[in-house]
Symmetry: C2
Subunit: 169 residues, 2 copies
């Protein structure tokens, strides 16, 4: 039963994951077999309107203020949908819950990596060094793809340590 569901989803995602379909970052569900409903729009709005790394419950609470009828279950389901479709990244920063971030912020920062403070759980986005990283990263990805026959879709780079605030005490 679980397998069945997974297969169904992966087939559904094909249209836009293989580069043929349009990415829908602000209202383009249709044509992919998905419906852009009020709950989904609301969840996307929350994600697009924050610079934080929100958990499912964080998102639910923010959505709830505007649309009290929308349930936590729908938030979880929509997030899974967005993650599987590549629109949203799901992160584990070491506290007990997953955190979500728009993979391509429409009017903001784009791809970036993270510094994670293991003391206070603060997260720092950084982009500054990505330009220098980019070449090697692409080179590495090409090398790995060839060597292991592995089709890379995305990567996660996180530096763990102690932040400024936690050091100065």
């Amino acid at each position: 039963m679980k397998l069945k569901i997974i297969i169904k989803k992966e087939e559904s995602f094909m249209p836009w994951r293989d580069g043929t379909g349009p990415p829908w970052l602000e209202g383009k569900f249709k044509g992919c077999g998905f419906r852009l409903t009020v709950p989904r729009q609301a969840i996307l709005d929350v994600l697009a309107g924050t610079a934080e790394h929100l958990s499912a419950e964080d998102i639910y609470l923010k959505v709830h203020k505007v649309h009290p009828a929308i349930g936590l279950t729908t938030v979880y389901r929509t997030l899974e949908l967005l993650v599987q479709s590549g629109m949203v990244f799901k992160f584990d920063f070491g506290d007990g819950r997953a955190r979500y971030e728009l993979s391509e912020n429409p009017k903001g920062i784009g791809h970036h990596h993270h510094l994670v403070c293991t003391r206070c759980r603060r997260i720092i986005d950084y982009q500054d060094f990505i330009d220098e990283e980019k070449d090697l990263l692409q080179k590495t990805e090409r090398g790995l793809s060839k060597k292991y026959d592995f089709h890379i879709t995305h990567h996660v780079i996180q530096f763990y340590g102690v932040c400024r605030e936690c050091l100065g005490c």
Copy 2:
């Protein structure tokens, strides 16, 4: 109460985390306020004797075969101890459970990164490209440390995608 415990632990770890104490990778707990007990030794043995990425329960089951009295609770506690002390890395590869790996395998591979197949959850270790990565990584870490006053202790680099086996079907 929770804060109290955390403070206690961090103080306990200081001796060897700050470079002054010896790393105990096969029987060096003492002198750090910790005791190398039978359960802890058994858990370390399991970690040292595998190339897989075991979950807490995996470790428990393997330990259980030799020492049926050792409980899952102790496995969790010991793993947390080892992670906090830097001897073991804790990973989230996207299935529901944490996976653990000796950070410095005594007689085997050392630091490496991961390819994670999002279809079948297979994990591929790779070291081949780390040499080329090392320079930039250190450079990046230095830059980040300076810019954000962030003391980096370790990093996690994971490439996500589809593995050979899952592609060929």
